[in-house]
C-alpha cells in the first residue's frame, strides 16, 4: 500500500452494531460495515478476484484476504473458468472495473438506496 502507516484518525467501531458513531461520514461508515464480507472485484484484463474485504484507502485501492483468482479461458462469452488461490492481494483502483459484495436481497436494496443519495 502506498498509504503511510499512520493510525486512522477516526475511532473504529468494534462491531457492526454502530452504537458509538464516530465522527466520520455516513458513507465511510457504511463502507466500514462491508469489512470481512465476501467481495468480488473485476479488473481490466477480465479476471475476477473473490476474497474477504480487508482494507481500503482514500485512493480506492483495495486489499482482499484469502482471495481466489478467476479467469475465463476464452475472451468470447461464455466459457469455463479457471481458478487459483492467491491469498492476500492488493487491487489498485486504477485497474478495478467492478466491485460487488455478497449480501441478502433486502440489504442490496438498502445499499443501492444509499448510494443514490
Amino acid at each position: 500500500m502506498e498509504q503511510p502507516a499512520e493510525q486512522s484518525p477516526v475511532p473504529i467501531p468494534a462491531t457492526d452494531s454502530g452504537e458509538f458513531r464516530p465522527a466520520g461520514s455516513d458513507r465511510v461508515n457504511r463502507t466500514r460495515k462491508l469489512l470481512f464480507r465476501r467481495m468480488l472485484v473485476g479488473i481490466k484484463d477480465g479476471r475476477f478476484f473473490l476474497g474477504s474485504f480487508y482494507c481500503m484507502d482514500k485512493q480506492g485501492n483495495i486489499i482482499l484476504q484469502d482471495s481466489m483468482e478467476y479467469r475465463s479461458t476464452r475472451r468470447s462469452s461464455p466459457s469455463p473458468m479457471e481458478q487459483r488461490c492467491l491469498g492476500l492481494i492488493l487491487i489498485p483502483s486504477s485497474c478495478r472495473t467492478s466491485c460487488h459484495v455478497d449480501c441478502s436481497v433486502e440489504e442490496q436494496l438498502s445499499l443501492l438506496s444509499l448510494s443514490e443519495k
Binding site: 463502507t31 468480488l40 484484463d45 476464452r74 462469452s77 492488493l90
Partner: protein, 727 residues
C-alpha cells in the same frame, strides 16, 4: 466456496452475464462501486478503512495485482492455451506453402534450442522450452511428422536432463530448474518411439537430399520421392539445415542415455556421440548463411536473434503458462540468442567430454583431484550433475567401489582390510556418508560448495572425535593387543587419514574464498596466515600417513625378502609433503609481507567504523574456529605472530627463496603429473616475483614514501603477486 446454484438470476445480476461465480446461499452480488467511490471522497488523506485485525506489516506483503513484477496471472494476448490455438497461434501445418512450412519449422527448432540453453542456465522450464505451444499439446502435431518427431525428442531430452539434475541435487542455487509441474514431459515406453520417429524423418530427408543432388539420368529412378518443399533451388539447403538439426538431437539424446548407464559403462560410447553432436552443431552454424538469405524479407524480424534465419519463430508464448511457475513471482526471462545457445551447447559438450574421458581411477584422491580440476573450467549445472552421478552411484564410488574400501584405500591400508568387520562400526558408517557428501558437494557451484564445505568441517571433526573415543575404549590407553593387530592398525590409520582429509577440506574452503572474491586486500594477511596454519597441519598429517604406510609396506617386504633399498626411507620427506611445503613457504611469506606492509604503514588498514580486525577475523574463519582447525589457533596467536614483523626482520627469512627452491627441487618427482608440474611452476613464478618485489621494498621502502605496492593474481589463482611502483 458456496456450492453452485441453479438459479442463474441470483448471481448473474451483477456480473456481465458471462461469469458464473456464485454468491452465498439466499444472497446476491450487490454492486458497491458507487458506495466505495463515495466513501473515498469522504476519507481523509492517509485514512484507511480497515478492521480490528488490520496489520500494516501483513498488508505490505499483499501481492499487487497487475504489477508485472508480482502478478504472474496478467492476461496478455490470450486467455488460455486453447484460445491461442483456436486463434491460430500455433497452426498445423504452419503454412500450406511447403517452403514456408519448412522455413518456419526450422525457426521453431532454433528457437527451441535457444530456450533449452536458457533453461539450462537456470530459468524455469515452463517459461523457456515449454513456452512452445506445440510442446504443450503434443497430439496436435501428429500430422506433421517432422515437427512431431522434433517435439517428441525435446520432450524426452528435457525429461532426461531434469532427472539427472534432480537426482544429483546440484541445483540448489538454480532452484527453478527442476520445477516442471503440469508440463507434458516425455515418459515411459513412448521414449523409445521418439527415436524411431526421428530416424524415419531423418531417413526421408536424406533421401530427398540424395534425390535433389542426383543427376537427371538418375533422377528418373528416384522420381517417386516427393521433394521436401516446392522450390528446387532451395531444396538442398533446407535438407541440409534440417538434417544437422535432427542429427544433433538424436546424438544428444543418445549421449544422455549413454551417460546414464551404470558404472560409467557408456562413457566411451558417449564420447562418440559428443563428437557427432559437435559436428552437427557446426553444420547448424554453417546453415545460418543459407537460412538468412532464403528468409530475407519474408517474415517478422527476430529482435532477440533466437533463430538462424533471423525470423521470429511461430508458436511461442511464455505468458500462457507463466502461472505454472507459481508460487514464485514472475521473472522476466531473456532467451539467449541462437548463437549464444550454440556456444552454450558446445561448452556443455566439451565439459561432458572431460567427464567421459575420466578413467575412473579407483582412488579417492584421484577422484577429488579430478573434480577440482573439472571445476576450474566453471562447468554449468547440467555437466556438474552428470559428473556427480558418475562419481557417486548406489552409495559407491563410480557405482563400483564400496565406500569403506575407498576409505581404507585413501588411508593407505592393504586390500585385505576391505571386508573387515570394522566397517559396521556406526562411526565408520558415518564417515562413509561424509565421504559421499564431500564428493557431492565438490560438484556444486563454487558459492554453494564453499558454504557446505565450511559447515561440513564440524561434522568431520565430530566424527574424528567419536572414532578416536571408540578406538580408545576398545584398545585402552597405550596398550596394543597382539591378538587384534589388524583392527588396531585400521583404526589408527583411518584416524590419521580423517585428520588429513579434514585439513584438506579446510584448505579448499579457504582457497575458494579467492575464487569467489570474498577477501579484500586488507584481509589477505590473515587469510594467508590461516592458509599457512592449515597447510602446515595438512603437511604434517600427510607426512605421518606416508611414513606409516611405508613402514607397513616395508614390514611386508621384509617378510618376503630382505630389502636394503628401504633403509633410511622413513627419514626422508616424501615428494607430496615437499609439494605442500613449497606452498607453505609461499603462504607464510605472503602473510609476513602483508603484515610488514601494514606494520610499516605502506598499506594502510581501513579505519572502518563497523568492523574491528578481530571481528573480521571471526567473520572470515568462524567455521574453522568452531571446528578447532587447527587446535589452539586464535586471533591472539595470529596477532602474536604478525604484530612485530617488519622488513628488516623479513629480509632475513627467505620464505620466497625457500618456496622457489623446493618447488624447483621437487619437480623431478612429478614428471608424470602435468597438473602438479603446472602448479609447481606457478608457485615458482609467484615466489620469484615476490622475492624481487620484497627486495625492492626492503631497500627503498622506508625512505621513499611514493612507493606503491599492489597485488594481482596473474601467475596463480590464489597466491598473489606483488607489484611495486613509484607513483
Amino acid at each position: 466456496m458456496a456450492e453452485m446454484r441453479t438459479d442463474e438470476a441470483a448471481f448473474g445480476v451483477a456480473i456481465s452475464g458471462r461469469t458464473s461465480i456464485p454468491s452465498g446461499e439466499n444472497s446476491v452480488w450487490a454492486d458497491v462501486s458507487p458506495l466505495l467511490e463515495a466513501a473515498c471522497e469522504d476519507l481523509q488523506e492517509g485514512e484507511l478503512i480497515h478492521g480490528d485485525n488490520f496489520n500494516l506489516f501483513a498488508a505490505m506483503s499483499a501481492l499487487e495485482i497487475m504489477d508485472p513484477k508480482m502478478d504472474s496471472g496478467i492476461v496478455c494476448t490470450y486467455y488460455s492455451l486453447e484460445e491461442a490455438i483456436e486463434n491460430g497461434a500455433a497452426p498445423v501445418p504452419i503454412s500450406v506453402d511447403k517452403t514456408t512450412d519448412i522455413r518456419c519449422t526450422i525457426d521453431i527448432m532454433d528457437h527451441l534450442l535457444a530456450c533449452e540453453a536458457t533453461w539450462h542456465k537456470g530459468h524455469s522450464l515452463a517459461q523457456t522450452v515449454y513456452s512452445c505451444l506445440y510442446l504443450l499439446r503434443p497430439e496436435r502435431t501428429l500430422s506433421h511428422a517432422l515437427l512431431h518427431a522434433y517435439c517428441k525428442v525435446i520432450h524426452v531430452t528435457c525429461k532426461a536432463v531434469l532427472s539427472v539434475v534432480s537426482d544429483a541435487r546440484t541445483h540448489e542455487e538454480e532452484d527453478l530448474f527442476t520445477m516442471a509441474y503440469g508440463l507434458p514431459l516425455g515418459g515411459g515406453d513412448r521414449d523409445e518411439r521418439c527415436l524411431s520417429m526421428l530416424n524415419a524423418v531423418e531417413e526421408t530427408i536424406s533421401r530427398q537430399l540424395r534425390a535433389c543432388k542426383a543427376s537427371s539420368s538418375k533422377r528418373r529412378l528416384l522420381e517417386d520421392i516427393e521433394p521436401l518443399q516446392s522450390n528446387p533451388d532451395l531444396e538442398e539447403g533446407y535438407c541440409r539445415a534440417l538434417l544437422c538439426r535432427l542429427r544433433f538431437r538424436k546424438h544428444f539424446y543418445h549421449l544422455l542415455m549413454s551417460m546414464k548407464r551404470p558404472q560409467g559403462r557408456g562413457l566411451e560410447l558417449a564420447r562418440k556421440h559428443i563428437a557427432s553432436c559437435i559436428l552437427e552443431l557446426d553444420g547448424c552454424l554453417k546453415s545460418s548463411e543459407f537460412l538468412r538469405a532464403s528468409a530475407h524479407g519474408m517474415c517478422e524480424k527476430n529482435i532477440q536473434d533466437t533463430t538462424a534465419s533471423g525470423c521470429q519463430a511461430i508458436g511461442f508464448d511464455a505468458s500462457l503458462n507463466c502461472r505454472l511457475s507459481a508460487p514464485t513471482p514472475p521473472r522476466s526471462i531473456k532467451i539467449l540468442s541462437w548463437v549464444k545457445a550454440i556456444e552454450y551447447f558446445l561448452k556443455l559438450l566439451r565439459d561432458l567430454d572431460i567427464v567421459c574421458s575420466y578413467s575412473l581411477v579407483p582412488s579417492l584422491e584421484a577422484a577429488l583431484h579430478f573434480v577440482i580440476k573439472f571445476q576450474k573450467s566453471q562447468p554449468d549445472l547440467v555437466a556438474r550433475s552428470h559428473l556427480q552421478l558418475l562419481l557417486v552411484q548406489d552409495g559407491k564410488l563410480y557405482g563400483q567401489i564400496p565406500i569403506f574400501a575407498v576409505i581404507t584405500g585413501a588411508a593407505g591400508l592393504p586390500e585385505v582390510t576391505n571386508d573387515h568387520d570394522i566397517q559396521k562400526n556406526e562411526f565408520v558408517v558415518q564417515l562413509g556418508q561424509l565421504v559421499i557428501n564431500l564428493l557431492k558437494i565438490l560438484c556444486t557451484n563454487a558459492a554453494w560448495q564453499r558454504r557446505k564445505l565450511g559447515k561440513m568441517l564440524q561434522d568431520w571433526r565430530v566424527t574424528y572425535v567419536q572414532l578416536e573415543l571408540a578406538f580408545k575404549n576398545e584398545f585402552g590407553e597405550g596398550s596394543k593387543p597382539s591378538n587384534n593387530e589388524l583392527r588396531f592398525k585400521i583404526f589408527q590409520q583411518i584416524l590419521m587419514w580423517v585428520e588429513e582429509q579434514t585439513y584438506w577440506i579446510a584448505s579448499r574452503f579457504l582457497i575458494l574464498g579467492f575464487e569467489l572474491e570474498l577477501y579484500s586486500v586488507h584481509d589477505y594477511y590473515m587469510v594467508y596466515w590461516y592458509i599457512y596454519a592449515i597447510l602446515i597441519k595438512l603437511a604434517e598429517k600427510t607426512h605421518l600417513r606416508i611414513v606409516m604406510n611405508n613402514s607397513t609396506a616395508k614390514k611386508k617386504a621384509k617378510k618376503k625378502r630382505d630389502s636394503f633399498k628401504d633403509a633410511g626411507r622413513d627419514y626422508q620427506i616424501s615428494a607430496a609433503v615437499l609439494f605442500l611445503q613449497s606452498q607453505i613457504y609461499l603462504a607464510e611469506g605472503l602473510s609476513m609481507m602483508f603484515a610488514a606492509l601494514r606494520n610499516e604503514h605502506i598499506i594502510l588498514a581501513p579505519q572502518g567504523p563497523f568492523n574491528t580486525e578481530h571481528e573480521i577475523f571471526i567473520q572470515q574463519f568462524e567455521l574453522l574456529q568452531k571446528a578447532c582447525l587447527p587446535d589452539h589457533v586464535s586471533y591472539m596467536s595470529f596477532k602474536e605472530s604478525t604484530k612485530l614483523v617488519n622488513f628488516s626482520t623479513l629480509a632475513m627469512c627467505d620464505y620466497f627463496k625457500e618456496a622457489q627452491r623446493i618447488a624447483k627441487d621437487v619437480k623431478s618427482s612429478f614428471a608424470n603429473d602435468p597438473d602438479k608440474m603446472a602448479e609447481l611452476r606457478r608457485v615458482e613464478q609467484v615466489a620469484e616475483h615476490n622475492n624481487i618485489a620484497l627486495n625492492v621494498i626492503c631497500r627503498v621502502g622506508a625512505i621513499d614514501p611514493s612507493l606503491k605496492v599492489t597485488f594481482e593474481f596473474s601467475h596463480h589463482p590464489f597466491f598473489a603477486t606483488a607489484i611495486v611502483k613509484r607513483s
